[in-house]
Assembly symmetry: C2
């Protein structure tokens, strides 16, 4: 039955559905990958999500997966399923360009840890998705699938757009400020950024090690939970020493009691547009006694500035050499950040970084009372134009504190563009966050037990 689906229907399968059909023999990896490539062929000119696609290599990998299945060998959770990887994630032998002409043609000799783990789960590496320059703000070529005249958000622009456009069911991105949650919101897909320290970043471009976090884009929460394949120490990334997984069993379970949400406007509420403010007011009302508005302590108003300082200093340390080598090949936005980081004094940097823990701990009482924080994923719909990737302000606090976050495509803005609802969980309680997210989706769609 599956085999009779059109390529477009095949490409619309979720990663879990696809993996199940492949495992059961109703679909081959080669058919699925061919369907995704066909979808890309049809849409890529309009969307520009891919930096690099090796069609022959992807088909060859798919056929190898199919042979493996026929031999009756054990299959991973993503056996035969194509994935896209943000072009700051190393894939052995495939150009990995970090969004800069300065790394054009760079071919890593070793897979990133997350690449290796995806392969071990049977995934087919379909290609590399467009990133902004150095995963910072200067945009790449990608357009929003819902309106090509609007930004897809960034920095994981291509991964968000590719999943939204049905080109691939699952893609990896990264977030140093708002680079998973914001494009997920703008493109109308699920974006999930696990707890800081959960996913090793070995082989992923280092921007700011105190902040850099790997995340996933998917069309369902169930697929986002496949991020569990990426979790756990690799012995190389010293910050990756925890594993909040496995996720699936808990994420797919019913909450033992009806979850309670803390509706947090954040000190940056006035940066959300009117429609977003109104939409969240209605959401809060719809949730009734399941959501209480909670005001953050005053100190959180400074959190975005502290993140900015830590990001500037660490990016100056790690990426400043690109500016020194060829300033004219870098964007003004990027050069300004590096210059800012280079001016920063070490004790000010250390003071800002120390505030991560202070803010993190100050949120403890909220998570004692509530299952998750609910807050906008972005100030509004994807802005018109491609010259910037939008405002990350509604992600900054949670990224700074390293909390797990998910953007759910539950709303629509005044121009018909998607608008994400962000849920934020306690550090390390990723599975519970995903479970709460599923409950929220079912509750708002009227499928819940309410």
């Amino acid at each position: 039955m599956v085999a009779k689906r059109t390529p477009q229907e095949l490409a619309a399968l979720t990663a879990r559905e696809a993996a199940r059909h492949i495992a059961e023999g109703g679909l081959t990896s080669a058919e699925l990958v061919a369907a995704c490539l066909a979808r890309i062929a049809a849409e890529e000119e309009r969307i520009q999500a891919w930096e690099c696609l090796d069609r022959d290599q992807a088909m060859a990998e798919a056929e190898e997966r199919d042979r493996r299945r026929k031999r009756g060998l054990p299959l991973g959770a993503l056996h035969g399923v194509p994935v896209g990887l943000k072009d700051i994630i190393d894939v052995k032998g495939m150009p990995t360009g970090n969004g800069t002409p300065l790394d054009a043609g760079r071919r890593p000799f070793v897979d990133a840890t997350v690449t290796r783990r995806l392969r071990a789960a049977g995934a087919v590496i379909l290609g590399k998705t467009v990133t902004t320059e150095f995963a910072y703000y200067h945009p790449g070529k990608t357009r929003n699938p819902h309106d090509p005249e609007r930004t897809p958000g960034g920095s994981s622009s291509g991964s968000a757009a590719a999943v939204a456009a049905g080109m691939v069911p699952l893609a990896l991105g990264s977030q140093t400020n708002g680079s998973v949650i914001r494009p997920a919101s703008f493109c109308g897909v699920v974006g999930y950024k696990p707890s800081f320290g959960a996913v090793p970043r070995t082989g992923v471009l280092t921007l700011a090690p105190s902040l850099d976090q790997v995340g996933v884009f998917a069309r369902t929460i169930e697929d986002a939970a496949l991020a569990e394949l990426l979790l756990g120490p690799d012995g190389q990334d010293a910050d990756a020493r925890e594993s909040p997984g496995p996720l699936t069993a808990t994420a797919l379970a019913e909450p033992p009691v009806t979850p309670a949400l803390a509706f947090v406007k954040t000190p940056f509420w006035e940066r959300a547009d009117e429609a977003t403010q109104a939409a969240f007011g209605e959401l809060s009302e719809a949730l009734g006694e399941q959501a209480d508005e909670v005001e953050l302590p005053e100190v959180f108003a400074r959190g975005a500035g502290w993140l900015r300082g830590v990001m500037a200093a660490e990016m100056a340390r790690n990426l400043g050499h690109y500016v020194d080598r060829a300033p004219q090949a870098t964007s003004e936005t990027f050069r300004a950040l590096i210059a800012e980081g280079r001016e920063m004094r070490a004790p000010d940097y250390l003071a800002a970084r120390d505030m991560r823990q202070v803010l993190h701990d100050a949120l403890g009482p909220i998570f004692d009372r509530f299952d998750a924080i609910v807050t906008p994923a972005a100030p509004g719909e994807a802005p018109a134009g491609l010259e910037n990737t939008g405002d990350a302000i509604f992600c900054s606090l949670w990224t700074f504190c390293g909390l797990p976050a998910i953007s759910l495509p539950l709303m629509t803005g005044p121009n018909g563009m998607p608008l994400g609802v962000q849920l934020v969980g306690r550090h390390g309680q990723d599975a519970r966050l995903l479970r709460t997210a599923r409950w929220l989706v079912r509750t708002l769609s009227g499928e819940g037990d309410e």
Copy 2:
């Protein structure tokens, strides 16, 4: 039999001997503490090792330990044994002054983790030992027990001197550059600084969290191994996430094969005085084929500078407020360091800190071939005069890399002052380091199996 010993003989017992006698009933904690207090009464005017002694409280604690023993309750490894704590380590209710008039009379409400762990092992907190100002270079009042006109070294001056003078069998110190190993060398006692991350620093004055490490002073290696009581995460110090213990069983065992030592002169060899250079030449000769001279890669010459930068920046962050509050109450040495740290740029700080791991990893091949590095603990004997605490240069590299180190009082300088032999082990292999240290002591004393 034990009970007939003079107070001076009692005070000369090692911590392990004392704990055994107390456990077996041949000695009471009260007798031992009284003997230590008598020794202090006799010697303190000359040595000035103590910042704070509460004789009544110590006697009361000792009597409580004796009552507990009489009731047949389980006894810890230090049951009834007095210990001294450097005056940057918090003891509930006892003045903890951090070596500065600005903290005079400060009485913590909570024990430091190490204090709590010592108490849990049954130790009696005898008092607080003198530290240099903020555990940096500006000296306190302590004098060297072997020659009161010479420095005891620093910053753990009082702990080293108190153990050397027979005032207490065991004392805690800390090392951010050379503050355990150097005073141990100058005072002729065993100083042991466990691997970075092994001992939680919660409740210990924070100088530079990337470098701060707690250590112990004792009269034997066996007693130094009692540091195992301090090891392991406490859930509060995020850097303390390892435990290289337990130590005693391995430390007291015979090495399975004869150890091999790497004699490392370091790039700072010309800062060792002639007598020290000659003594280490002879040591290397005496060890014959058990020691090979190994030259460090050139990059290590910059290691002391990187440590200095990290220390200055982090101390500016953590202690700069003292200078702002009352510059005239701080030393010129300290103010100069804070000013230096405040000038440092964040990316330079980050670059220096990243070199910790680079240098650490560059030592890997040495520890693949050798059980330990053997190197001077200090450039020579304790310098004459009390105006400075000597040069930490022979500690900087190992502290920077977070390696376990021990100073052994095996040599004597031209003025009859002690001179320490420093052994440095692979990170996390503290037990093996102590075992190698015991082997070295026995070999050089002719008691070995050579």
